[in-house]
Structure formats: C-alpha cells, structure tokens
Amino acid sequence: MVERGGRGALAGRALLYLLLTAVAIVMIAPFVWMLVTSLTPASELYRYPPSLPDSLAPENYTEVFGRFPFGRFTVNSLTIAVLATVGTLASASLAAYAFARMEFRGRRALYWIVLATMMVPFQVTMVPIFFVIKSLGWIDSHAALIVPSYFGFGMGAFGVFLLRQFFATVPKEIEEAAVLDGASRFRIYWQILLPLATPALATLAVLTFMANWNDLLGPVLYLSSREKMTLTVGIAALQGGELAARIDLIMAGAVVSIVPILILYVIAQRYFIQGIGAGGVKG
C-alpha cells in the first residue's frame, strides 16, 4: 500500500489530501456549528442567511447552567459513568480470567451464552429488567444505572470477550512460578494478570465510560426527577421543553456534554482504537 515516487504519484497524493480534507470538513462542521450557535446571542439565532454572530454571547453558558441544573447533570453523568466503568472492569475481568485460565465444567457453554447475549436486542429484556429495577426500589436512583454493571450488564459481555482474548495471549509460564509459590488464583489474577492487562483494561474502560456517558435510554427509563438526570437526558429535555426555540442554550448544553468525552478520546485515542480493532478482526 506504500506508494512509490513519480509525478503521477505526486498528483495522486495531492488528490488524496484534497479528499481527506473534504471529508474532515464534513465530519467536523456540525461540531463547529454547534460551538458557533452556542455562542450566538439569542436575538441573532433566527436570521437568514445563517452567519457568524456579530458579537459572542458566552453568557449563554451561564444561562443554561442557571436555568437548568447543568452542573448537577454533569456531576451525575460523571458519577454514573465512573462507577459503572469500575463495575464493568471488575466483573468482566474476573470472569474473563476464569474463562481464559481455569478448568471447570460448563466453561465453554457459559462463555458462549455470555457472548450470545450480545446478540439479543436490548428491547427484548427492557421490560422485565425494568420490573426488576422497580421491584428493587431503584427507580429514580443512580443505583439503577450503576449496580447492574457490577454484574456484567451493559458492556460486560463485550468486556469478557475482550479481556479473555487478552489473557489468553499471556504466556502461562508467568503464572506458573506464582502457582508453585502457592499463590492463590485471586492473587495471581490481582497481582500478575491485571497489571499485565493494563492496555486491555484501559481499552475496556474508555469504551465503557463512553457508553455510559452517552447513554440515553437507561437514564430515560430509570430517572425521573430533574436533580437525578444526566447530561444526555437533560439535553433531550431541553430540546423537547419550553426552551426548544433557544437553540443557543441547547447547543451550549451539547458542547458541555461532548467536551469531556472528546478530551478523553484525544488523550486515550490508542485505547479506543485498539478496542474497536480487537472486536473487528476477531469477529
């Protein structure tokens, strides 16, 4: 795939950059417009032709935080995403270690059942699981969105798959010395395998954090009071509420919700890419 010299190759490369740039503009323009609109004074929102605002209105941000508990929403989103990520990492890595390294009856069957649940559309289990959460008294509580991940809900099955793949690549010799020393399986898992698996864990962590941070259906189903809401439902509520015409405020809310995840993505890009590549190549 590496191209060699020549004038044709040079023209080809110029064309390639042109194409790459055109696509980049298409991919980024909506975000730029989101930012621009979020800084547009309300009086200049609805005018034709659409144009850059005459003056910037950063007060849109203070207004959206003032009229809506966006600070609270941010804290809620962060709490849920962090605690759910910890739960997914814990439950998935424990199971993945057993599936990769231990002999037990029903291992293969159990592993395939776990993977098969990824195939089942969420809508199928939505009603009974809602009933379980309701029976537990977790409606309008963040527990509904956090505790299930400690039992492999959400990204758990994918995590088991991803981490099992990784554990399987670790040479058995590394653990054998520890086994001879009489170390327990849990100790081997905790002190040897987990540190080795840091890249795989980081991959699962960023993908799980992203899934929870961006989740809409879960918070829509389980959270009802405004103080409990996350950023995603907050924005959806803004869009459907009495302030629907204040696009500037909606866009300010949207910017607030995407900045943390974009920062995380830029910092931990490698892990996002590894996670998706791992899922893709192995099928």
Binding site: V2, R47, F104, V124, A236, Q239
Partner: protein, 323 residues
Amino acid sequence: MNEGSSDIDETGAAGTSGRGPDSRAASRREASRRDRFRRVEPYLFVLPVTIGVVIVTGGAIAASFILGFTKWDLVTAPEWIGIANYREAFASDLFRQVLGNTFLYVLLSAPVSVACSLALALMVNRRIRGITAFRTLYFFPVVTSMVAVAVVWSWLYNPEFGLLNYLLRELGGIEGPRWLLSTDWAMPAIALMSIWKGIGYNMLIFLAGLQAIPETLYEAATIDGAGPVRRFTSVTLPMLSPTTFFVFVITLIGSFQIFEQTYTMTQGGPASSTLTLSYFIFQNAFQYFRMGYATAMAYILFAITLVVTIAQFRLQKRWVFYG
C-alpha cells in the same frame, strides 16, 4: 473473594513448610480442602457475570417471551391473552408502517454506511504525513453522544434557518426539502445523520482488517503483473471479506434497533413517518403501559434480527474467504 484467597495463602504456606507426621496429616487435610476450593473457585470468578448476564438477562429473555402472550400494565397482574398481541400487531396498519419505516431506515443507512466506511478506510490506510490526525477527526462523531449530535443536526436541518439548506441553495442552486418536517424526507435525514455518526467506527474496523493483510500478498500479486485494480479485487477484497462480513452483521443488527435518533429528533413524526420499531416498543411500554404488546413486538424485532443474521451467515459461504 478476598477471604477465600487469604485462606489459600495460609494452606499453601503450611503445605510447603510442614514437618513431622502430625503436620503431614494436617497438610494432607489442608491439601484436600485446597482441592475442593480449587474446584469451586472458578465459579466464584464467573459468579457476578453469571448472575447478571446469564440468570437475570437470560431470565428476562424468557420472561419477555411469556409476557408477549399477556396483557400487563406493570401494576396489576398479567392476564394471559394468547397470541392476541401478535395478531393485533400484524393486523394493525400502524405496526405495518412501523415495520416499513424500520426497514426503510436499515436500507437507507446500512449499505451506504458500510460502503463509505470501506472507502474511508482505504483512504486512510497509508503511511503519509498527518494521516493519524485525519483518522482522529473522522472518529469524533463516534465518541460523542447521539443526543448531542441529534440536536445539532436538527438545527442544521432547519428548513428556513438551517445551514444545510442554505449551503444547498448557495452552492448547488437546490431548494432543499423540509427535512425533519417532511414525511418523505425525515427518515432519509435521520439515515444521513446516522451514517455520518457511525462511519468512523466501521472505518476503524476496516482499517484493522486492511492492516492485517500481509504485505507479501501484494508483493506476490505485483510480481505476477497485477495492477492496482487487480490487487484490490484479488487481494484486498477477498482478504478483507471476513471483516466486511463482521461489519455488515453488526451494522444491520444495530440499525434495526434505531431509537435515540427518533427519540431526540422527531418522536416518530411527522405523521408517524419516523416511528421505528424500537421507538414504538418504548412508547407502548413506557407511555401507554402496554407491556404485553411491547414485549411481543420486541420479540418480533428479535426474530427479524435473528433471521437477518442467520441469512448473512448462510450467505457468507458464497463470498467470505477464510484464507
């Protein structure tokens, strides 16, 4: 878990350092206890996931199937009504429209998405300056929430003040449609946005697939006199076909479940033109409290997903190459 493991540490220490007959018998007892623990230990590791994924999710899958034959409002006891929910669904014009909308969305979005992301992957699969920056940018929509993306696209799609119709008018001389306000254009608009949002994800999967193709195959093809087109059709496409297959399977499964776009942008409107199966299930369950009807339709969605996936697995023998 912690208590169990520290227990084993002690027995391990006793087993290796024991002296004399008494301690040998004791260490044998310890050893058998340790064996017994070894046998149950794996189950402790898989217990949390087993509870959540196998027991609760598995139970929910079964419960949902049964609930599909009942009338249930979540408060009073479910009432058995046989196949009435399924009969109602297939007799209902609205449900048929919902199915049609869902298939329309899948057909509009999935093939284009797969084709475009393959094209993008081929474009970025080069070692040239700045290429990683492009890859990073293309992935931005993937990491942002559908809600954030949907609100800005709703604004772009605004027929009077939106950027899109302005650009169409200025650059193309085209009078743009009313997008989300039009029964004909709302679904294509949602599909277009969804393609834009998901393209980077599939691009990365394709890219991983492309990079797994051994360079030697291209070299051998070149030696055999194959040009770039021939190298693409005879090396890239067949070697990439397992990846393409995977991308198709996950894209189709995902598309059939489209929910967030309609929830945020149209709530199924205008005139039910974007009412998709997932959103209709959600409405029936949590707005009309028709749990039985909702679960029956969820099973219809499940069945569609299964049939489409099985069909793809059947068809893969004809075009997927496992070298």
